[in-house]
C-alpha cells in the first residue's frame, strides 16, 4: 500500500493553511497577481504567486523574537512544518526516531541579495552571512521542531521536494526511521526573478499551462511538509491516515542543462519507475497533477511523455501552477498536498487559463473543477539539470 501520510501543512499564494488552500482550490481561485514584497525593476512585467504575509507578519505569527536571523525561506518553512506536525497530532518528536528532510533551491538568497554589499561593515547585516547556504533554514526548522538526528536538505532544482518525499519514504521503508517530516520551502527572490527572465521563460500575464499560446511561467513561493509514519507507529498510535505514498521514481533526462528532451525521456522513466514501485498499471491512475509550468518546452515534453506512458489514454490531468505559480523547490510538496486533497475530496482541480490545445498533441487538461472517484493520483516534478521525479498517492 505504501507509506502512511498522517499530517500535512502548507503556506502558498492561495492560502496560509491546508484549509485555506483547499477552499481556494475548490473555488478555482488563483493566487497569482502583482509582486508586493520584493523591489525589482521587473515588477510590472511579471505576475507572481506570492505569499501575502510579510516577514514581520510571519515572525509575529510564529511567535519568534523580533530580532532573529531566519530568512523568508526559513519563516515559510517553519510555519508549514509546524502545521504539518500539529495536523499529525505529534506534540513531541522525541518519542520515535524522527527525521526532517527539507528542500530548497535559493536557501537564504532573499537576505543575501539584500545585504551582501553590507556584510563587510554592517553588524546588523552580518547575521545573514551564515544563513545563505541551503542547509540553514532546514537546521533552524529541525531545531525548532526538536528533531536532532537525521536532518537534511535536497537541492535538485524544481524536483527537490519530490525527492525529499521520496527519500523520507525510502528511510521509513528501510526501517531507518519511524517518522519523518518531508517537504520543502522556497521564497521568491530577485535572483530567481532575474534568472528566469534571462531564460525568457517568464510570462508577463497569467500562465496558461498546456495551451497552444502559452508564453512562460509565473514564479511563486511556498512551503509545505508532509508527515510520514511507519505502519507500526500508525497501528500503535491508532493514527488516522490521510493517504498513502505508494509510488516514486527518479530519473535523469540527460539531455540538456535546462531544457527537456523532445520525447520527455526523463519524465517517461520517472513515471515508469513510480508505477512500478506502486505496482500499478497506467490505467489505474485516475488523475495527474502535471508539472505543467506553461513554458513552451516543458509542456510539450511532458505531454509527449504522458502520451508514451498512457498510450494515448491519458487520464484527467491539470497543472495547479496556474493557481500557485511555480514554487520551484516546494512545487513537489505543494502538489503532494493537492494530490492528497484530491483524494480526500474526490475532486479534480482546474488548469486555469487554458483555451486552445497545442497542435502537436491536441491534449486538453481539465479546466474546471469536477467531482470524480479517485483512487490514485500521479504527480510530476521536473527540474533543471534533467532531474525528473514522479510520486503516486493512493486513497487511504
Amino acid at each position: 500500500m505504501g507509506v502512511a501520510i498522517t499530517g500535512m501543512g502548507i503556506i502558498s499564494a492561495i492560502g496560509h493553511s491546508v484549509e485555506e488552500n483547499k477552499t481556494s482550490l475548490l473555488a478555482s481561485k488563483t493566487g497569482i497577481g502583482d509582486l508586493r514584497h520584493i523591489q525589482t525593476n521587473h515588477s510590472q512585467a511579471i505576475k507572481v504567486g506570492e505569499v501575502s504575509l510579510s516577514n514581520a507578519e510571519l515572525t509575529r505569527q510564529l511567535q519568534l523574537p523580533e530580532v532573529h536571523n531566519y530568512t523568508r525561506t526559513g519563516l515559510l518553512g517553519l510555519l508549514a512544518a509546524t502545521a504539518a506536525l500539529e495536523n499529525a497530532n505529534i506534540p513531541d518528536c522525541s518519542t520515535y526516531r524522527t527525521g526532517f528532510i527539507s528542500s530548497t533551491t535559493v536557501g537564504g538568497m532573499d537576505m543575501t541579495e539584500k545585504y551582501i554589499k553590507q556584510f563587510d561593515k554592517d553588524i546588523t547585516a552580518q547575521k545573514y552571512i551564515a544563513t545563505h547556504h541551503a542547509g540553514d533554514s532546514t537546521r533552524k526548522i529541525a531545531d525548532a521542531l526538536r528533531i536532532h538526528g537525521l536532518v537534511t536538505t535536497i537541492s535538485t532544482a524544481c524536483s527537490s521536494a519530490a525527492n525529499a518525499i521520496m527519500l523520507g519514504t525510502r528511510l521509513i521503508k528501510a526501517g531507518k526511521l519511524d517518522r519523518v517530516v518531508v517537504g520543502g520551502t522556497d521564497a521568491l527572490s530577485k535572483f530567481t526573478i532575474n534568472g528566469f527572465k534571462t531564460l525568457m521563460i517568464q510570462s508577463d500575464s497569467l500562465c496558461a499551462p498546456f495551451d497552444a499560446h502559452r508564453n512562460g511561467l509565473n514564479l511563486g513561493e511556498a512551503a509545505a511538509y508532509l508527515v510520514l509514519e511507519s505502519d507500526a507507529v500508525v497501528q500503535k498510535e491508532k493514527k488516522e491516515v490521510l493517504a498513502y505514498l505508494s509510488g516514486y521514481g527518479n530519473a535523469n533526462d540527460a539531455f540538456h542543462q535546462t531544457a527537456s528532451s523532445e520525447n520527455g525521456e526523463g519524465a517517461f522513466l520517472a513515471m515508469q519507475k513510480a508505477l512500478k514501485t506502486a505496482k500499478l498499471n497506467p490505467n489505474q491512475i485516475d488523475y495527474i497533477i502535471a508539472h505543467g509550468t506553461a513554458t513552451t518546452n516543458n509542456d510539450l515534453s511532458e505531454s509527449r511523455a504522458l502520451e508514451r506512458i498512457f498510450d494515448k489514454q491519458i487520464p484527467d490531468f491539470s497543472s495547479t501552477k496556474s493557481l500557485t505559480g511555480h514554487t520551484l523547490a516546494a512545487a513537489g510538496v505543494v502538489e503532494a498536498v493537492f494530490s492528497i486533497l484530491a483524494l480526500q475530496e474526490q475532486y479534480i482541480f482546474p488548469n486555469l487559463n487554458f483555451k486552445t490545445p497545442m497542435p502537436e498533441t491536441g491534449l486538453k487538461p481539465i479546466t474546471s473543477g469536477v467531482k470524480k472517484e479517485i483512487q490514485h493520483v500521479l504527480s510530476n516534478s521536473f527540474g533543471f539539470g534533467g532531474n525528473c521525479s514522479t510520486l503516486i498517492f493512493s486513497k487511504a
Binding site: N41, H42, F100, T105, G107, M109, T112, E113, I116, K117, F119, D120, Q126, I129, A130, H132, H133, A134, G135, D136, R139, A142, D143, I147, H148, G149, L150, V151, T152, T153, I154, S155, T156, A157, N163, L167, R170, L171, K173, A174, K190, F191, N194, G195, K197, T198, L199, N250, A251, N252, A254, F255, Q257, T258, G266, L269, F384, G385, G386, N387
Partner: protein, 339 residues
C-alpha cells in the same frame, strides 16, 4: 541486506592528490585565510565545448567523478549522488553581482543556469548520458555524508549495484571572505585555511579484491558534548564492533574550540593511532570526504602518511578505521571502514 564496498576513491584537494600515484608523500603546508585546490588539467576529462561554461567546482566535480568511474572500471553507474554545502557559489555570486551592478539589466543566463546545486550531478549525467537515479544534497558539513547514506540505502535495498557518489565545494570570492572575516573575529575560530575540492567514490554491493567495506555510517544534526561518547558506543554496538577492534581513528580537527568533541571521543580508546587531515585539506563543507579518501588509501595500501599523525604511533596491519567529523559542534558523522 547487501553489504557496501568502496571500489574507488579520488580527491582533488589543496595537496597533490589527484595526478600523483603517491600517497601524501610531498606535503604543501597550508597558510593564509583561504587556499585554492590544486587543479588538474581539466582538458583530460572535459571537452572544451563543455568546459567553457563551467566554474571551478563543476570542473573539479566532473573531473573527479570521471576518474573515480575509470578507476572502478564502471562506465554507467546505477545512480549519481552528489553533496555540496555552498553549491555553485562562484556563479551564484557572479549572477548576483551582475544583478546589482547592472541594475537588473542586460543579464545573461549562463551564470544563473550553472548556479543551481545540482549542476555537477547534472553535468556528470549529461556527459555519461546516464538516465539513472540522480540526487543532490546540501546540508552543510553533512552534504557528502547524506549523499553516501543515500548510496548505502540504494545498495542495501538492492535498488542499485554501483553508485557514483561525491562531494564538491568551490571557494568563490565574496561570501567566503565574509565567512573568514567572521571566523577570524571569533578568537576561538578554525586554525586552518578555508579551502575547496572534489572527492568522488564508486560504491558497490559487490566485493572485489581491491574493495574496502563501508561497515556502516551514522549522522546527527546535533549531539551534546555530554552524549557524544554514548552516541559512538551505540553506533559501534549496533554494528558489533568493539572499541578495541578499531585500529585507526581519523578526526576532522580544525583547531577550533569544538575539537573538544574529538578529544572526548578519543578518550574512549587506548593506544589508538589518531590521525587528522584538515591541516592538509583545509576546511570546507565537503572536506570530510578527503578523510574518507585517505582512510580508503590507508586500508588499501596498508600505509599511513606521516603528515596525518595527530597522536600515537604508526602500526602495521590496520583493518578497521573510524572516521568522525563535525563542524561547529553540529552535523556529526561517524563512518566505519574495514578491509
Amino acid at each position: 541486506m547487501k553489504k557496501v564496498y568502496i571500489h574507488s576513491a579520488v580527491t582533488i584537494s589543496a595537496q597533490d592528490t589527484f595526478d600523483s600515484d603517491g600517497f601524501l608523500n610531498e606535503i604543501k603546508g597550508l597558510s593564509g585565510k583561504t587556499v585554492a585546490a590544486r587543479y588538474p588539467n581539466y582538458k583530460d576529462y572535459i571537452t572544451p565545448a563543455n568546459l567553457r561554461r563551467m566554474a571551478e567546482g563543476v570542473k573539479m566535480g566532473v573531473s573527479a567523478a570521471s576518474k573515480a568511474l575509470k578507476d572502478a572500471e564502471i562506465t554507467q553507474p546505477d545512480a549519481i549522488i552528489t553533496g555540496t554545502g555552498m553549491g555553485c557559489i562562484d556563479d551564484t555570486e557572479k549572477f548576483l553581482n551582475a544583478i546589482i551592478s547592472n541594475d537588473e539589466q542586460f543579464l545573461t543566463p549562463t551564470a544563473f543556469i550553472q548556479s543551481t546545486h545540482n549542476t555537477v550531478g547534472a553535468q556528470i549525467a549529461l556527459g555519461l548520458k546516464c538516465k539513472a537515479y540522480n540526487n543532490t544534497y546540501s546540508q552543510a558539513a553533512l552534504s557528502f555524508e547524506w549523499a553516501l547514506m543515500d548510496a548505502q540505502l540504494l545498495l542495501q535495498q538492492e535498488e542499485a549495484e554501483n553508485v557514483l557518489v561525491g562531494g564538491y565545494e568551490e571557494l568563490g570570492k565574496e561570501i567566503i571572505s565574509y565567512r573568514r572575516m567572521m571566523e577570524d573575529a571569533d578568537g576561538l575560530g578554525i586554525q586552518v585555511p578555508y579551502s575547496e575540492g572534489a572527492s568522488f567514490f564508486v560504491v558497490s554491493s559487490e566485493k572485489t579484491e581491491h574493495s574496502v567495506e563501508l561497515i556502516d555510517m551514522e549522522v546527527y544534526s546535533s549531539i551534546s558534548t555530554e552524549s557524544i561518547q554514548d552516541s559512538l558506543k551505540q553506533f559501534l554496538t549496533k554494528n558489533d564492533v568493539d572499541l578495541s577492534e578499531i585500529d585507526v581513528f581519523i578526526s576532522g580537527r580544525n583547531g577550533d574550540v569544538f575539537d573538544s568533541y574529538y578529544d572526548l571521543t578519543a578518550e574512549l580508546f587506548e593506544n589508538i593511532t589518531q590521525l587528522h587531515y584538515k591541516h592538509l585539506s583545509g576546511e570546507f563543507y565537503t572536506a570530510s570526504p578527503f578523510g574518507l579518501w585517505a582512510a580508503y588509501e590507508i586500508l588499501y595500501r596498508q600505509e599511513i602518511p606521516e603528515a596525518m599523525i595527530f597522536k600515537g604511533e604508526i602500526k602495521s596491519d590496520n583493518h578497521i578505521i573510524l572516521l568522525y567529523n563535525q563542524f561547529k559542534g553540529r552535523d556529526h558523522s561517524f563512518i566505519l571502514l574495514k578491509r
